[in-house]
C-alpha cells in the first residue's frame, strides 16, 4: 500500500520543501532572548558548539559559542543557518495517515499508534517477526540510538534493524576494527596542529567539514605539508603542497604502491612493526608488484607525484592521515581504509603527540550512533550481536532471556533487496531518507511500493515519507535533551532549547509509547533522556566503546569527555594507543593485505565516462533539512555536472547546456558546469536532491563484501549534449517568508 497517495507535485505543494527565510529585520526578540542555549550544530560530525537564542519557546537566532574548544565560535554556512529549521512552515505538527487520492489526513496520536501497532502485529503474525524491519539514522542522539537498538530487539523482536550509518562510515568502522579492534579516530583534531605531513584522502574537508579546515591551516602555519587525494581540485587542494587527482575507484592501488615504496626505500619503523603489529609481511607481499609505473597506469596520477607523496610520508617525524566517504563509499571501502592504516602502521606514527589517523565521521552522531546498537550486527558498547558473551551481558541489562535476543539482521541495502524478494513486508523508519540517500533509488522506490505497511517518524515530510501509511511528527535536534559523540570521539551534550510545536512529540516518547503498546512497557521505563543515558553507560561497560565513566555532569563540567572512559574517576581518552595495547585479540595492531580490485562497475564502450558523487558546502546529506533553508538553497540551487573542458569538447557540450546523463540504471538531464578542476575522464554530481535531480538514480550500489557499504563513488555513464540551455536559476517558487 505504499505507493504515493497523490502525485509527487501535490505532496510537495503541501509539505515542501518550501524555503524558509528569516524576516527582514530578524525574528522578534533576537536582541533580548529569554535564554541562550549552549548546544551543537545538528549537522555534520564536527558538532560545532553554538548558542541558540530562544524567545517565547521559539528559536530566534544563534550566537557563536566562543568557549567550546573544537570550534571556538567558528561555523560553516549550514551551522549559521541551522536555526532556520525551527519555525519552519513545513514542520509536521500532527500525526498523518495516508489516504488514497487525497494525500495525507490528520489523525489522532491514538489512532496512528493503534494502526501502527496492529499492522506490526498482523505482519509479524502472518510472516514472522523479521518481516517487520526498522531503519534508523545517526543524526539521532546516543540515547535515541541506544533506545532504538533496544526497541527493535525487545519490543519489535526483529533482527532486521539497520541504519544510515551503513551509507556512511561502516567501511571505516570495519577497517578500524580489523586493524585496532576499536572504531574511533585515534586523536583529537588538535593533534593536527604540529603534524609535519597531513594526508587527506577522499575527504572534501572544505565543503563537508569546513570548520576542520581551521586545524589544517593551523598546521600549515607551522609548516605542515598537505597532500590531498581527490579526483577534483577541491578548495582544500588548491593551496595544497601536493594534489593527487586520482581516478575514482583506484584508491587501494595508490596506497599499495606507496607502501611498497616505503618498504623499498626503507622508510619503515621496524621497531614498531616488529613489536607492536602483526601481518606486515603478508600485507607487503600483496603489493609487491605495485610499482610506481603500475600505479600511474591504474590511478591516473603521475608517478612523480606518487613518489613525492611517498617520500614526504616516509620521511616525516609526525603526521596525520584523514579519510572520509571518498575512499569508503566503494565496493572495496574496507580495503581502501586498511590501505591507509597500513601506511600509518608502517611508519609507526600513531599513539604519539601529533601523530594521528582517523576517518572523518560524516553525520552529526556518526560516531556515537555507530556504537550503541542500532546496527544489524551490533549491541551497545560496540558489542557483537553474534558473540554469546555479548548477547548474555546485554540481555541481562535489558532484562530479557538471551534466547529472545534476535540475531544478526540484514544491512540497509540488503533490506531493500529483501523487500523486493517479499521477505520483509513492513517497515518503520526514523531519521533516514533512503529514497535520496540509497543508491539506485528507482529500485529503492519500487521496494517501498511493495511494502504492506510503512510508518515514518520525521519532523519534515522527507521524500521517503511520501510512501508512508502513517507519518509520526517527531522532534528536531533542539527539542530533546541528549548526548552525541563527535568525530573526535568527544561525548557532548545536546540541549533542549524549545518544546515541540503543535502535536509533534519528542522521538523518544514516540518510541516509548510504541514499546508500551507492543506490550513491553515494563522494559522501557525512563523519565528523562539522562535515565536512558545511564542505562547506556551500564550497557556499554566493558565494551570497546565504554561510556560507563561519563555522566551528564561530567560532560557539562568539561565541555565533553572522550571515550573510552571506563570509570567515574577516569578523565576520558583524548589520544588512543599511547600504551600500544590494541583491542585486537593478540593485542597488536594489524596490517591487512589490500590488493587492488576493480570497482563494481567499470567504463566500457557504451558507458565510457566515470561519474563520481559527493556533497556541496551548503547542503547536508539527503537535504531534508537544508533544502528547506532559503539561503542555503540560494547558494547552490540545483545539481550541475562538473565536467572538464576536454571531455566537454569530446561530447560537444557547452557551458550551461543541458546534458543527458545515462547509466545502466536510468538517465536524466543536468546543466553542465565546465571546469578545469576535475579529471578529464570523470564527471561529478552532488547527491542531495531527489527524483530526476538525484545522483543516486545512477549509482550502482555494489556492496563491499565486509562492510556492506554500497558503492556510490564510481559509476559508468555516457553523456549527450541536448542543445538546450539551462534557464539561469530563478528565485524558487516555493518561498515561505515569515
Amino acid at each position: 500500500m505504499a505507493k504515493l497517495p497523490v502525485s509527487e507535485e501535490k505532496l510537495i505543494e503541501q509539505f515542501g520543501p518550501h524555503l524558509n527565510y528569516p524576516p527582514r529585520e530578524g525574528y522578534a526578540g533576537r536582541d533580548e532572548p529569554d535564554r541562550e542555549v549552549k548546544t551543537h550544530c545538528c549537522f555534520c560530525g564536527m558538532q560545532c558548539g553554538m548558542k541558540l537564542l530562544v524567545k517565547d519557546n521559539r528559536v530566534v537566532g544563534f550566537e557563536p559559542w566562543m568557549e567550546f574548544p573544537y570550534n571556538q565560535g567558528r561555523l560553516c554556512p549550514k551551522g549559521v543557518e541551522r536555526y532556520l529549521q525551527n519555525n519552519h512552515p513545513d514542520r509536521l505538527m500532527h500525526p498523518l495517515q495516508r489516504e488514497e487520492g487525497v494525500g495525507f489526513k490528520q489523525v489522532s496520536w491514538d489512532a496512528s499508534m493503534e494502526k501502527t501497532v496492529s499492522e506490526i502485529k498482523r505482519i509479524q503474525e502472518k510472516y514472522g517477526n523479521d518481516a517487520f524491519a526498522m531503519l534508523s539514522g545517526v543524526s539521532l542522539s546516543n540515547e535515541k540510538s541506544y533506545l532504538i537498538g533496544k526497541f527493535a530487539r525487545v519490543a519489535l523482536k526483529t533482527a532486521n534493524l539497520d541504519y544510515n550509518g551503513r551509507l556512511c562510515m561502516v567501511s571505516a568502522g570495519a577497517g578500524n576494527k580489523k586493524a585496532f579492534g576499536l572504531d574511533r579516530i585515534s586523536n583529537t583534531f588538535e593533534d593536527l596542529e604540529r603534524a609535519e605531513v597531513i594526508l587527506i584522502s577522499g575527504a572534501n574537508v572544505s565543503e563537508t567539514f569546513p570548520t576542520l579546515t581551521h586545524w589544517i591551516w593551523r598546521a600549515r602555519d607551522y609548516g605542515a605539508k598537505l597532500i590531498v587525494v581527490d579526483p577534483r581540485m577541491i578548495p582544500l587542494a588548491r593551496t595544497a603542497d601536493l594534489h593527487l587527482p586520482i581516478r575514482p575507484g583506484t584508491d587501494s592501488a595508490l596506497y599499495g604502491a606507496m607502501l611498497k615504496y616505503l618498504a623499498d626505500h626503507d622508510m619503515l619503523d621496524h621497531d614498531f612493526i616488529d613489536n607492536h603489529t602483526s601481518g606486515f609481511q603478508e600485507t607487503l607481499d600483496a603489493v609487491k608488484d605495485y610499482t610506481l609505473e603500475w600505479a600511474e597506469e591504474v590511478t591516473g596520477i603521475e608517478k612523480a607525484k606518487i613518489e613525492l607523496a611517498s617520500q614526504w610520508w616516509g620521511k616525516a617525524s609526525t603526521s596525520f592521515l584523514l579519510h572520509a566517504r571518498g575512499i569508503e563509499h566503494h565496493s572495496k571501502g574496507v580495503d581502501n581504509v586498511v590501505g591507509c592504516i597500513n601506511l600509518v602502521l608502517a611508519t609507526g606514527r600513531i599513539g604519539k603527540p601529533y601523530c594521528g589517523y582517523g576517518t572523518i565521521t560524516g553525520q552529526g552522531n556518526g560516531q556515537g550512533g555507530r556504537e550503541h546498537g542500532h546496527k544489524c550486527d551490533q549491541l551497545p558498547g560496540n558489542r557483537d550481536i553474534t558473540n554469546p558473551e555479548h548477547r548474555k551481558y546485554i540481555s541481562g541489562v535489558w532484562g530479557i532471556d538471551e534466547k529472545d535476543m534476535p540475531g544478526k539482521g540484514l544491512t540497509a541495502w540488503e533490506l531493500i533487496e529483501a523487500i523486493h524478494r517479499g521477505e520483509v513486508k513492513g517497515l518503520i523508519s526514523i531519521c533516514f531518507n533512503p529514497l535520496v540517500s540509497l543508491p539506485n533509488n528507482n529500485y529503492v522506490r519500487e521496494a517501498f511500493e511493495k511494502l504492506e505497511f510503512y510508518a515514518c517518524i520525521d519532523f519534515f515530510m522527507c521524500e521517503t515519507a511520501h510512501h508512508a501509511d502513517i507519518v509520526f511528527p517527531g522532534s528536531l535536534h533542539e527539542e530533546e535533551e541528549g548526548t552525541v559523540t563527535s568525530a573526535e570521539g568527544r561525548v557532548i551534550r545536546i540541549r533542549k532549547a524549545v518544546d515541540c510545536p503543535g502535536e509533534a512529540r519528542p522521538d523518544t516518547s514516540i518510541i516509548l509509547e510504541l514499546a508500551r503498546r507492543l506490550g513491553q512497557g515494563d522494559k522501557f521505563n525512563y523519565e528523562t533522556s539522562e535515565d536512558i543515558f545511564n542505562e547506556l553507560r551500564v550497557a556499554s561497560k566493558g565494551g570497546t566503546a565504554d561510556y560507563f565513566g561519563i555522566t551528564y555532569k561530567k560532560i557539562d563540567d568539561n565541555m565533553g569527555i572522550f571515550w573510552p572512559c571506563p570509570t567515574l574517576d577516569h578523565p576520558g581518552t583524548k589520544r588512543l594507543w599511547e600504551d600500544k595495547k590494541y583491542c585486537t585479540p593478540d593485542g597488536k595492531a594489524h596490517f591487512n593485505a589490500a590488493p587492488y580490485r576493480e570497482p563494481g562497475e567499470v567504463t566500457d564502450k557504451e558507458y565510457p565516462v566515470v561519474m563520481t558523487t559527493g556533497r556541496v558546502v551548503s547542503q547536508y546529506l539527503s537535504g531534508t533539512q537544508t533544502r528547506r533553508i532559503g539561503k542555503l538553497v540560494d547558494s547552490f540551487p540545483e545539481p550541475k555536472i562538473e565536467i572538464h573542458p576536454q571531455l566537454a569538447q569530446q561530447f560537444g557540450i557547452r557551458q550551461d547546456e543541458m546534458v543527458r546523463v545515462s547509466t545502466r540504471r536510468g538517465s536524466a538531464d543536468f546543466p553542465a558546469n565546465i571546469v578545469e578542476t576535475i579529471r578529464t575522464d570523470t564527471i561529478f554530481l552532488p547527491y542531495h536532491w531527489p527524483g530526476k535531480k538525484s545522483a543516486n538514480q545512477f549509482t550502482p550500489g555494489t556492496l563491499d563484501p565486509v562492510s556492506k557499504i554500497p558503492e556510490f563513488k564510481v559509476c559508468a555513464c555516457k553523456l549527450e549534449a541536448l542543445g538546450v540551455f539551462a534557464t539561469p536559476s530563478i528565485a524558487p517558487k516555493n518561498v515561505a517568508r515569515n
Partner: protein, 189 residues
C-alpha cells in the same frame, strides 16, 4: 554615535588564500543587526572555469575613502575609530557612484531599496566589544579579528599590509591583508 566599548587594539586581518568559498561569512553577515538580513560581505569565484579559487572581501575602511568622496549626497561618513559607515539612509540617492569608485569593489547597491549598503565592521558588535560576525564564524580564519600581537604569534611568516597600489593611486586602509613577511604594500594592476 552612542557610548561604545569599541576596542581600538583589535584589528581586522584578511588572507583570501585561506578562503574556501564556503560563504559562512556571507550567511553570518546577514545576522548582523545593522543590515537587516542583507549580507554585506562578498565571496566570489575568481574564474570558476579554470580554478576553484575564491576571494572574500570586507570593507577595507580606507583612511581617505573613495566612496565617501564620490558620494554626491554626503551619505557616507567615517567615525573617530576609522570605521567607514554604510550610507545614511535618508541621504543616499542610490546613484552607485560609491559602488563603481571603490577600488576594492565593496559597496552594494540594493536596487529595491534604491540604497547603497556596505559593511560597517558589524558596528553593533564591535561597538559592544565583540568581534564581527564574519570573522567570528570564518572556519578558516581567512577573516580574523584580534590584536596585532595575536596575529604575529599565529602567523609569524606573514605581515599585515594596509597599503594598496592601484595604478597611480595608493590607498591606505584600516583593514589589513596578510602578505609574505616584510611586504609593505600590495600592487594591483
Amino acid at each position: 554615535m552612542p557610548v561604545t566599548n569599541y576596542k581600538t587594539n583589535q584589528e581586522f586581518f584578511v588572507d583570501m588564500q585561506r578562503c574556501i568559498g564556503c560563504k559562512a561569512c556571507e550567511m553570518a553577515c546577514a545576522e548582523c543587526e545593522t543590515n537587516g538580513h542583507e549580507s554585506m560581505i562578498h565571496v566570489n569565484y575568481i574564474d570558476r572555469a579554470v580554478t576553484i579559487q575564491t576571494t572574500v572581501q570586507v570593507c577595507m575602511h580606507c583612511d581617505d575613502p573613495a566612496c565617501a568622496n564620490v558620494c554626491p549626497a554626503d551619505a557616507i561618513s567615517k567615525d573617530e575609530f576609522g570605521v567607514v559607515h554604510t550610507a545614511n539612509t535618508a541621504r543616499c540617492i542610490g546613484c552607485s557612484n560609491c559602488v563603481m569608485a571603490c577600488p576594492f569593489g565593496v559597496p552594494k547597491k540594493n536596487e529595491a531599496y534604491d540604497l547603497m549598503m556596505k559593511c560597517n565592521m558589524c558596528y553593533d558588535r564591535t561597538s559592544a566589544g565583540k568581534k564581527p560576525m564574519c570573522a567570528t564564524v570564518c572556519p578558516t580564519q581567512a577573516l580574523y579579528y584580534g590584536t596585532r600581537e595575536e596575529m604575529a604569534m599565529m602567523r609569524p611568516n606573514s605581515s599585515p599590509v594596509n597599503n594598496f597600489i592601484f595604478g597611480n593611486e595608493k590607498v591606505s586602509t584600516k583593514v589589513n591583508i596578510m602578505m609574505p613577511k616584510g611586504a609593505t604594500e600590495l600592487r594591483v594592476d
